[in-house]
Structure formats: C-alpha cells, structure tokens
Subunit: 139 residues, 10 copies
C-alpha cells in the first residue's frame, strides 16, 4: 500500500473484453472504501459499486483495488469522489455505459448515497437502450 | 440545539455542485427526525429521505441536520411537514429534481408514509427524464 | 369500540389538503385489521394498505382507525371488503388516485392478497401519470 | 383427501365476482404444494402463486386447496404442472389475466422457478395494460 | 464426476417443450458453481442463474448439473465463463430469450456479478416483448 | 364464533398424552390473538405462545383456537390475560410445566411482552429441571 | 407534552399486580426515547427496554411514556440516564428484579448499549425464581 | 416411492461411526416432511430435525429420506409422529443421545413445534452432559 | 487525524463512573476499524466490540474513536491487535471485567473473529455478579 | 492449487501465539469448502468453522486455506472429514480447546451439520467447564 500516492486512472489496468460483440453488464461491489473528510479530518467509510457495459476493455480487479486504496488518506468530499471515480473508470476502459454508486456510513445520524451515470454518446442512427439491462446485439 | 427557533430554508447552507455538467443523484437519509403532533401534543418520530439532482448547488449536510432539529418541539402534521421540507430544500438549493419521503412510526397501530416530488419546469426544447435515475448529459 | 355498528364512509373524517396544488402520495398501513369469514364464522386477520393522491381532502387517521374497527365482528369476504374499503375511502375524500391492498394471514396453508385501484377520470386535455409515483404539477 | 383422484378444472368452484366493473388483482400463495417427479419417483415440493384479474368469476379457495392436493401422488414435471395449473385455472374462472408461478425446493443443488402468463385476447378497440398492475376501468 | 473433461454444449440434454405455443419463463439457480482463477490458480465460487423462454426445447436439469461440474478444475475468468455459459445454453436449446447471471464470492474485498443476455432475432413483422415477463401468444 | 361468551378452561379439550413416560415439549404459537383494552375500549393484538411438558393430557388445538377467540370482545389487561391463559391451560391439562408468553403490538410507541411460568410442585425426592428443555425420564 | 418539566419517579403511576403470588416477567420496549448530549448539545436517540418481575405493583404504561418524554430536552449522558431510569423505575414500583437496557443510535461511527440490573435483597431462607435472568449480589 | 408402505425402523440403514471414541454431534434437517392429519384427512407439512451423538452407528441419509417419505399418506398426529420418529431413530442406531424436533406449518392460524429427547441411561459412576454440546472423551 | 502517530492507552480519556456502587455493563460497537496486514501490506477492515463493567472510570467515546483511528496505517495482525486493544482499554479505565471482540471482513474466502477477556482478580471472599459472561480465573 | 495432493496436518503452518498467558478464542469461518461424496461421486459444498483457544501456536490462515483446498477432489464423508479436520488442526497447533463445525448444503432435501470438539486433558485438580464458552485456565 502506498498511502501517500495520488489515485490515478492510469493505475486501472484493463484487459480485452472477451465478447465485445455483446452488450453485457459487469457489476463490481467494493465495500471496503475509505477516504478522509476534508472538513473534519475524520475518516469516511463507504461502499462503491461500479456497474458497466464494457466496450473494448474490461477493468482488471486487482488494479481497481489498489487504485481505490489510494483514497485511504486523501481528503475528498462524497460528491467529488463519486464523480471522480466515474471519470477515472470511464477514462480507463471507455465503456458503453457506467454507473458509480457510493453509499456512506452514517455521520451525525445521516446516511448519504451518491449515484453518477455515464453513457457514451451515440451516433444518430443507433437506438440502444437506456436502462441498466442491455439489449443484445445480434450474435 | 436551539429548540425554540423556527426552521427556515435560510439555515440550509449550500456549496457549489462540483460537477454541474452531469445530472447525478444525491440521497440523504435522516432517521432521527422528531416533531410534535399539533392535535395530541405527543412527539412524532420519522425518517426523512431527500433524493435530488443538484443543479448549481448542493446542500451541506451539517446545516441540514441543524435545520431538521428545529422541528423537535414544533407542532406540525405529517402532510404539512413533508411538503414544507420539500419547499425549503428546493428554495435553498434549486435542484433539477427532488423527492422527499417521510416514514413515521406507528400511532394507533397505523403507519404513514408521505412522498412529495418537485421537478423544475423545463424549457420547451429540453427532454428531461421522468424517473429518479437521471440520464447523463454529454461530458 | 362499537362492535355492532356498521362501517360507513360517513365515519371517515377529512381535513383540507394542505398542498392541493401538488400531486403527492400518502400511504397508510393498517396491520391490525380483523373481520369475520361469512362462511366459517371464523375471524380473519389482515393488513390493509391505502395509498392515495389527495385532491381537496385528506383522510384523518383516527377516524380511519375507528372506521376499520367496525369490521371486527362483521362477516365479509376478502374481495368484498377490499372493494368496499376502496369505495368508502374514495367517497370520503375524493382523491385523484387511490389503491387499497389487503394482505391476509394464511388459511388452509393458503395466503391471499387483493389489490384494488381507483383513478379519477381525467378531462381530455390533462395528461396524468399512470404509475403510483405522481408527476408534479407546476408549483 | 383423495390421493388417487386426478386433478381437474371441474374441481375449482367459483363464485360471482363482487365487482366485475373494476379490474382488480387477487394473489393466492400456496406454499404447501407437492407432486412426484416422474423420472425419479421422488416427491417434489414447491410454492404455487396464482395472480389474476377476475372477470365474472372468482375462484373459491377451499376448492383450490383440494384441487392442488390431488397432485400429491401424481407424477408430473415442473414445466408441465405449471402450464396445466394455469390452463385449469383459466378454464375454471375465465379471468381477464392470470399468472402462475411455481418455485421449487432445491434438487441436486439447483432451484427452479417456472412462470406462465395468460391474457385474454382483446377486441381491437380496447387498450389493455401489459403489466401486472391493472389499469382501472371507469367506475 | 469427470473432473478433467471439458464442458461442452453437447452435454446439455434437452426435452421437448411441453407448451411451445406459450411464451413462459424458466429460471434455474445454481449456487454451487466453482471454477479456478487462471491468474492465481485459486478456486472461485459463484451462483449461476439461467432465465430463459424455451422455444422447442427445455434443458434437462441433471445434464445441466453435470455440465456445470466440468468447470470445477478449469481455469477461466468471470467474464469468459458467463458468456460461454450463455453461448452453450443457447446452442443447446435455442431459446427465444435467455439471461445468464453469475454472482461471485468476494476476492480482495470485492464482489463481482456478470449479466449476459441473448434474444433471438425476430422476423420484421413480429413485435415480441423485450422484458423478462413474456407477453402471451394466443392459446 | 360466539363473540359474547366468556372464555373458560372448560372449553379446552384434551386427549391422552401418547407418550406419558417421556418428558417432551409442545410449543403452540397463536399470532392471531385479540382482546379489548378495558381502559380505552380499543382492541389489542398479540401473539400468545404456550410451551408445555404434558403429563397425562395434551390440549386439543381446535378447542384452544375457539377458547382464544372468546377474548375477542372482552376487556382485559395484558398482565391479567397472560396469567389467566396460564391458569386455564394448567387447569385444563395439568402439565408438568408450562410457560405462556404474550407479545403485544405497539401502543403509544411502546411494545410489551409478558411471560408467566408454571411448574408442578415436585415430591421431595425428585430432581426437576429448571429450564424449558426437559430432562428425559428413563426409557 | 411538558418539554421543560423534570422527569420524576413520582410521574410513574402503578396499579396492583394482579398475580403477586407468581414470579412473572414484564418487558417494555420503548424505541422512541430521545434526550440531549450535555457535551455537544445534540439530540441522542435510543431504545429503552425495561424487564421486571413485579412484586405488589405494576407500572402503568401511559405514565411511563409521559415520564420518558420529559427527557426530550434534557442534557444527560448515556450512563447516567440508564442508571437513573432504573432507579426511578425501582422507586416507583419496587419490583423483585428489574433490568434496564439503553441502545443508542451511532455517533461518530460508534454504537453504545448500557445495561443495568437491580435485584431486591433476599432474606436468607428464600429461594426465588428459576428463570434465565441471573440474580445479582448486593451493590 | 412406495406411498402405501408403513414406515419402519428397519428401513433406516446405518454405517459404522468413523470415530466412536469421541462424542460428537450430527444434526439432520429435513424440511420436506409431510403426513396426513387423522382427524381432518388434510395433509400436514413440517420440518423434522434430528440431532444425535452417535455411538457405534451413524444413520445413512438416503435411507432416512426414504423412511420419512413413507409418512406421506399416513394419518398420524404431531405428538405421535415426533415420538415415533425418535423411537425409530434410537432403535436403528442406538445413539448416546438424540433429540427430534418437528416444526409444523400453521393450521387455523396456530403453529406447533414438538421436541422429544432421548438419553441413554448411564452407568452410576459416569456423570456426563446436561447440555446439548457434548463433552469430549479423552483423545 | 494523525495517521502516523502510534496508538496509546494514554489517548483514552476517562470520566468518573456515575454509579460505581452498581455492577453494570457498557457495550461499545466500532464497525469502522481499519489497520494494515503486516504480511501483505493490504488494509484490513473489522468491527471492534468492547463490553465492560466499569469500576471507578468510564471510557470517553470520542477519545476511543481517535485512539482507534491511529491503527489506520499501522501494520498489526488480528490476534495482536485484539489483545492490545484489551490491554490498553484495561490500562486506561481499570474495569471490573472487559471483553474485546474483533470481527474481520473476509480474506481469501475466510472470515476471522478474535475474542479476548479480562477479569480483575477478586479478593477471596467476594462473590461477584453472575451474568451470562463467565468469570475468568486470574491472569 | 494442487488438486491431486492429499491434505495433511503438515501443511498447516503456525506462528507463536502472541499472548500465551491469556486464554482467548479465535474463530475461523471457511464458507468455500468443497469435497466429493465417495458414494455418488458428486461434489459436496459446506462451511467449515474452526473455534479454538490457542496455547503456544496459532494457525496461519493462508496455509489453512491451501490445506482445505486439497479436499476439493477427494472423496470423503461428512462425519469423516469433520473429525479429520479437527484431528489435523489439533495436531498442527496443539490448542487448549478446539471445535470444528461443518454445515453442508442440502442433498435430497436434507441438510446436515456435524460438530466435533477437542479439549486438552486437564491435570486432576483443574475443573474445566463443559460449555462452549471456555473458562480460563491460570496463566
Ligand atoms: Ca447490475
Ligand atoms: Ca438512493
Ligand atoms: Ca409508500
Ligand atoms: Ca401475496
Ligand atoms: Ca400481485
Ligand atoms: Ca428462482
Ligand atoms: Ca425469472
Ligand atoms: Ca452484485
Ligand atoms: Ca419450542
Ligand atoms: Ca422479554
Ligand atoms: Ca450493542
Ligand atoms: Ca446433542
Ligand atoms: Ca453486552
Ligand atoms: Ca465469526
Ligand atoms: Ca466463537
Ligand atoms: Ca446445527
């Protein structure tokens, strides 16, 4: 663990999607996320859920784990980190769609969840699917 | 705690939305809400859930906590308080959309939930989503 | 408790909807409903759930409780009582929409749920939502 | 119990729908279903769920219980029995819509659920709903 | 158990769909799936869920169990195996639609789920449903 | 149902214990109990649990159900009814031991449980158990 | 509600134990307790559970509810309030035994439970009660 | 399945306990038990749990399953069948200790559990075991 | 947060036990504990539960939170940290009894819990309380 | 993974108990155990729970994981494997006490759990407890 390194999309290693011809969904649940509140200096704890439809690349899980660990001693707000996780994930694997959800443990009796979504812009003629369940392209 | 002060939208502090270019959702669950029934003088207990898509401003959580505490000794009915919470929240941060749900503990063997929704009126050319899951604007 | 009185919509007291300009939803869960099976003379036990969008009037909860208690010694079938509860509720508060669900404890190893829905007929120009989550009229 | 009699739609007694003018839903959960696997001779155990919108007739629950008991010693596969239950139910009460779900206990570490749906063909001018939640006809 | 044999769609035995005239759904939950991670050589454990609408053929459960057991000592990644399970299943029984979900136990504190879907291409004039709940063809 | 009759231990029918030579335990859970609060006139709802070691007689369940139904319109407090249920049960079947637990639904946000226990006095030389798990007499 | 009055054992009304000759247990669960942290001025929320064996007197529930409400705006620590609740309860009804448990909602990610027990000193020769709640030595 | 054969302890096959020198516990949960109520002719459904400390013999599971299936069409009361199951089990494998629990699905809103225990008589000098967790003999 | 400081019993602040004359129990659940595995350098996550009977001093919760945060970047094994937490807690407040439980999230598919207990040595004549947590012989 | 190697106590690596002067408990839950039924050749799946009080040595978790994986393709019955796991564990780390529980997934509708316990023989003067919660021996 490199607790002082800055998390970077470059850390996220990818491997070729074994079935790029099919829209399918990968969900990755990471319940051991922790960062630091920039205002109070206290640690925050949350679960991060990535759900994506890969295009040419899938994200390698161990590199994702190491990437997430770099937030351990970093001060960052809920809204910022959720958007940043989505941006880095999208930058790393350029998925067709991706949703990032962060669910945080209670602070002051209040529990927060942030949900961000990315969808690749479509060429005009295509008509794919808005929901999380992808339609299937011809086999 | 200022138990005699009146709750006011002015109490709700905001900070700039770190990603205004993206529609995304913030959910805030507040299970420690209490007010007083105006009819019986008995305390009511409930969970308040705010779900919103921020526009230019996000609501700061500690100010929300303090704002909610001002209902502690205030007499107000379920339907009134839920609509008022939505109005104050909308006034404070002018979100694109917001839902407030209040779930109350049983009284006389009966449990009540009130759900109010706000959606900003759209200019004619825009095509906003209707559901709680926002579509994503171009990055 | 007046165990021999007949339940009547007249018992249901109402109060003015504090926010008639907004479509919003009130859910009322009543897990202590009991009536009598007309066929066997045995008591039935169920949970009644009212979900409605008020128009000009909301239903007062204590009067609803007392109204429901009048079924205590009354013989009535599942389908009849669910439809009657909906009719009485609609007659009392003339909501925009209302759903009544009755969930009964098992008899002969079999569990029954009955769901009835009312939706006010709309003038031709209006564009009402179809689902349980109301769309919001302009504030 | 007549363990050797064959189940028949004729067993299913009906009573007049008390509110034929309203589309409403009746769900009947039967967790004590048992039949015999024709291949192994071993008993199968499942939960059968009927969900229907009655038209002129409702199914009487005790007759349904006795009908289901006749499968107790009968050899029949999951797919067959689920379709047959739907056919018999539809034949008996001619509902507007009906779904039958059978959920079976694990065999060889594998759990199976079969879901069959019937919807009455509509005259061309009608506009029936597709989902399980019926739209309401005018009162 | 033949731990060294390669899993093959040929292993999947089928039987004639007892009701080909009706679109209906069969769900098969297999919580005892295990394979080997090609990278670490460590065993993986998951639950595989097949949900399909049969056309002319249904998959026989015991053959499915034996087919799945052949992955026991085989090195294969999450994404690969899920797509392969779908391909083999589709090849074996040529369903109208099929979804395969694989839910894996945590590794490095991270839990993964992969969801793949197949839908038979439709002739231009037909308009079949897209969702998991099939509409019903005429009886 | 005879809603105006007074419950009486005489209603409780018994049958000979099929194995009086063995101390064993019978637990009977009755979640559909209802009586009336003498103070408010409002109905109370509770679950009654009888756990007993029969001696010469067991209690017949249908008579127990009918006996409990006679409390339906009777005004009686939690503590009184729990002790009375134990006394009547003991009078009816003279068990070696018996516990009656009554668990009530919330009133005023408060939930109450009452637990009463009876144990037959032992001749001096015997060595009775104290707990709910009976010791076994010689076979 | 008298939010400024001080809670007092005198508020707790009692009624004669209907069965003083039998040791039996009454459990009262109060999930709507709230007081104020003297250090931070922030409200605390907890569940209070009283479990007691009455002697000559039982505690009347409505008076207990009103008594607990007087802590609503009172500054008091977890340990203090739990011991005080036990002292007041014992003073009011002089039970044979009593346990008070307070379970608090999380603060700073930490959840606290305090458990206090009282047992009346016994004359040497007596041999009370064989229940699962252990007797305590004199304080 | 031989639905008309009478269940018999002879059906229960045993195999030599692989570790007779150690007291250890085997628990067998059978949630698919069904028999017939002799009074009403209706089927009963229950879960049977055997917990035993083997001596020289363990019970073979498949034979136990087949033995239990013979109750499928047999009329027998809850108390009788539970004691009989214990007697047959003890006769078949002569365990050091055995408990049989039968938990039945609700009838008339009432749920029943029967618990029977056997413990082999001990020679005078030995003093083993009151609890469910066996003490261990020397290795 | 001082991520590089070493945790020390001196950090744990105490306040006088408000009721030293009574043995009572305080349980503190800390689900947000994290440290680092000395072998792999990977973060560990666990829940720490302190349960103690205070003597003259109680532990102040905020100081406990800050103390626990100092393990955030410290390499220490499960067994070591659990014993150390107990030692520091006992050193800080000298309780009559204390148990520390640490429950860790899974690693390699394996979940670990460590439970340590301390009990102050008693003078020979004393007879301390008989709660469910067993007394310990001298350390 | 060495799927053909035989599991052996020699595989279990140990490290010195960091606190041998204190009796404390380590629980290790392994939900990913699989072996093969010698009778049917079908795979078995279970959860293995080790609970022990270390003496001079603790078991290293990774070696335990690798040890358990060697059962993957080995034919062995439930009772045998549970006793063998206990024997190997005791041989490897010579604990003061150890319990091994194996809980298996259902086969033929039947679920089995096997519980084995080891306790080191005590010198004559000691008086060890019989329950699952160990009393502590002198340091
Ligand atoms: Ca997903
Ligand atoms: Ca949410
Ligand atoms: Ca609702
Ligand atoms: Ca239902
Ligand atoms: Ca339904
Ligand atoms: Ca299923
Ligand atoms: Ca499905
Ligand atoms: Ca998942
Ligand atoms: Ca019981
Ligand atoms: Ca209790
Ligand atoms: Ca606790
Ligand atoms: Ca036992
Ligand atoms: Ca505790
Ligand atoms: Ca554990
Ligand atoms: Ca343990
Ligand atoms: Ca068990």
């Amino acid at each position: 663990m490199e607790p002082t390194a800055t998390p970077s999309a470059d850390q996220l290693e990818t491997f070729p999607n074994p079935r790029p011809g099919r829209d399918y969904t990968i969900e990755i649940v990471c319940p051991e996320f922790t960062s630091v509140c920039p205002k109070t200096g206290q640690p925050d704890f949350g679960t991060i859920i990535f759900t994506y439809v890969p295009d040419q690349w899938c994200v390698e899980l161990k590199s994702l784990k190491l990437y997430l660990q770099r937030y351990r001693n970093m001060g960052i707000f809920y809204e910022q980190v959720t958007n940043r996780l989505l941006d880095d994930f999208v930058a790393a694997c350029q998925p067709r769609r991706c949703t990032v959800v962060s669910k945080w443990t209670p602070r002051g009796g209040i529990t927060t969840t942030v949900t961000c979504h990315y969808e690749r812009e479509q060429p005009a003629s295509s008509s794919p699917a808005g929901g999380a369940t992808p339609s299937t392209s011809p086999g």
